[in-house]
Amino acid sequence: MLRLRGIVKTYGDRRALDDVSFDVAPGRLTGFVGGNGAGKTTTMRIVLGLLTPDAGEVSLDGRALTAADRRDFGYMPEERGLYPKMKVLEHIVYLARLHGFPRDEATARATALLGRLGLGERLRDNVEALSLGNQQRAQIAAALVHDPEVLILDEPFSGLDPLAVDVVSGVLQERAAQGAAVLFSSHQLDVVERLCDDLVIIAGGTIRANGSRDALRAAHAGRRYELVSAGDAGWVRELPGIEVVRFDGGYAVFDAESEEAAQRVLRRAVDQGDVASFAPQHPSLAQIFKEVIQ
């Protein structure tokens, strides 16, 4: 378990991070969401030891993080960086060897991983000859090749086409399934929503929401329901404790004052005719995000 507690970082007068605390659990994908300048990259760089916090600490499995621990982390920096004139395979092999793998094993791992990421045809090309999207894939390979137990990825999906997003998502899910703790930031809220198990929302240097995706959704769910029934559902607005949000023939979306009020709608609807669907509506991540950062 990677644990951040009370991290503070100040640049001059500006407090970039204020009492940032959250956990990244092994075997789970943790999405790190926030606007530009919210403090995501600063937080990640502090975890990697590239920046020193003014206060607070980062621990791994209950011990303060050491330089040796950090060297086992997989890291994808915000600003991408590989040697432009090195060949793709050679580059990833080099990084695997820096992490201590003998040449043969490093080569086998790099080849397999690059193949999995769709770069199997480009192994002998120079990094600079790749398109930006493919450089991004190579960058992901650089973070993953030594099979790290902790992965810190700054915007791993930016610049990828939808197919590549699926490939990378798949790879990250595999790593989590094997027990890695994965923290990744992203602006693509739909991807985060689909992919992550846990969520951390940051704004203005403070953590605004933090927990499992489902718990967050439940916590931010109002009592909004969707009803799809045969016949006209105009009667819904006359019921007490109900406020209709949208309405069209047999379709209605409404907010209920209480659970009982909602159940009254369902009973009435069944009396009135066939009910195709009646379900509470979960807020999307985008809605939760807007709500908590205000």
Partner: protein
């Protein structure tokens, strides 16, 4: 890795191993650069050509072909630089001269002060004239003192080789440090290995390349001297050249650590000059000093002890036999101590500057951390 692959933790890599890996990459990427390979080959060829040309032009004066009848030929036997073509008589000798087969003819002439007369076609053969002239004996009071021209060339040679190698590879190190910073690959590298290991690997790799170039130049120079038969000069150069190689090694490490450190202080290739400038002057200074002051014993002695100029100053003094046997050892000791101090300082600047991107890092900040 697929989900079925066995999980294996990466093993801790030792600093030595990591240093070698970094050095290996530095060397590999340089050897694959066509510019580097071509310019190195050119440099070696130019050096070879210079040594061969020097050697052959020195040896060319030797054979002046001279036709002489038997009586004159007997007297010419002892004269150096003259090759005698035997002819029957004066008429035959003159015929050869007219035909251009020989440069001149020499015949016995009792009327001449040396007893010989030179017969030439249309030009006075000055070389032959001098060879046959009677000259007073010359006694030198300091027979070991070297020709000032040789002194200049030897000093110049050590100076330019050190200057060029230190500049070429020093600039390479600085550029590659900035490249890593500019492309941000440095963040990935130092999240995998300690900063000092990265620095050590870069210095080691480039030192190996520079030494490789120096050694190939030395090999070529020795080959050239052997081919052209200048073994005497070679014998005199042997020990100073070995000392030069040793001093060069540490002098280069010194310069390389400083180039890496000052390179790390900027974030863009365009800005390199603003921080590496002083280091450039440091490696240029010994070359300029040796060119202007190679005949000033005080300057040369001081120079042979100052760490930056010792790689040039000490071998020159050794070549001319002006240094005691213990002097290079003392100078080397000073050099090693300076090296250790400068590497510590350079590593500190490098560590503190590497992750600061944006503007130029001030020296005070880089040292304070």
């Amino acid at each position: 890795m697929s989900a079925t692959a066995p999980r294996r933790r990466s093993v801790e890599v030792s600093p030595t191993q990591a240093t070698w890996l970094v050095a290996e990459r530095e060397i590999g990427s340089k050897l694959r650069s066509r510019t580097f390979v071509v310019s190195s080959i050119l440099l070696v060829l130019i050096a070879l050509a210079a040594v061969l040309w020097g050697g052959f032009s020195a040896g060319r004066e030797e054979a002046i072909e001279v036709a002489a009848p038997a009586d004159a030929a007997a007297q010419l036997q002892e004269v150096p630089g003259v090759e005698v073509v035997d002819v029957a008589d004066r008429a035959a000798a003159e015929r050869l001269v007219r035909d251009g087969e020989v440069e001149a003819a020499v015949v016995v002439d009792p009327g001449s002060p040396v007893g010989l007369t030179i017969v030439a076609d249309s030009e006075v053969p000055a070389g032959l004239q001098q060879a046959l002239a009677v000259q007073p004996e010359v006694e030198l009071l300091d027979p070991d003192a070297m020709n000032p021209l040789i002194r200049y060339f030897v000093a110049f040679g050590f100076g330019i080789v050190f200057f060029m190698a230190a500049m070429t590879f020093g600039a390479t190190i600085a550029a590659s440090v900035v490249e890593e910073k500019q492309t941000r690959v440095v963040e990935i590298l130092i999240s995998a290995i300690p900063t000092r290991v990265l620095l050590a690997g870069k210095v080691l790799g480039n030192t190996a390349l520079a030494m490789g170039q120096i050694l190939s130049l030395v090999t070529v120079a020795v080959l050239g001297l052997v081919i052209t038969g200048q073994t005497e000069l070679l014998a005199g150069l042997g020990a100073p050249v070995v000392w030069f190689a040793v001093f060069f090694l540490f002098g280069f490490i010194l310069a390389a650590a400083l180039f890496a450190a000052t390179g790390a202080m900027v974030s863009r290739q365009e800005d390199i000059g603003s921080t590496t400038g002083p280091v450039t002057y440091l490696v240029m200074a010994p070359y300029l000093i040796v060119v202007f002051f190679n005949d000033n014993p005080v300057v040369m002695t001081v120079m042979s002890y100052v760490p930056f100029s010792a790689p040039v100053g000490m071998p020159v003094r050794l070549f001319f036999g002006e240094a005691q046997w213990w002097e290079p050892l003392l100078s080397l000791g000073i050099m090693l101590a300076t090296c250790a101090a400068v590497i510590a300082l350079g590593a500190r600047i490098y560590e503190n500057s590497l992750l600061r991107t944006g503007g130029r890092v001030r020296l005070r900040e880089a040292l304070a951390g």
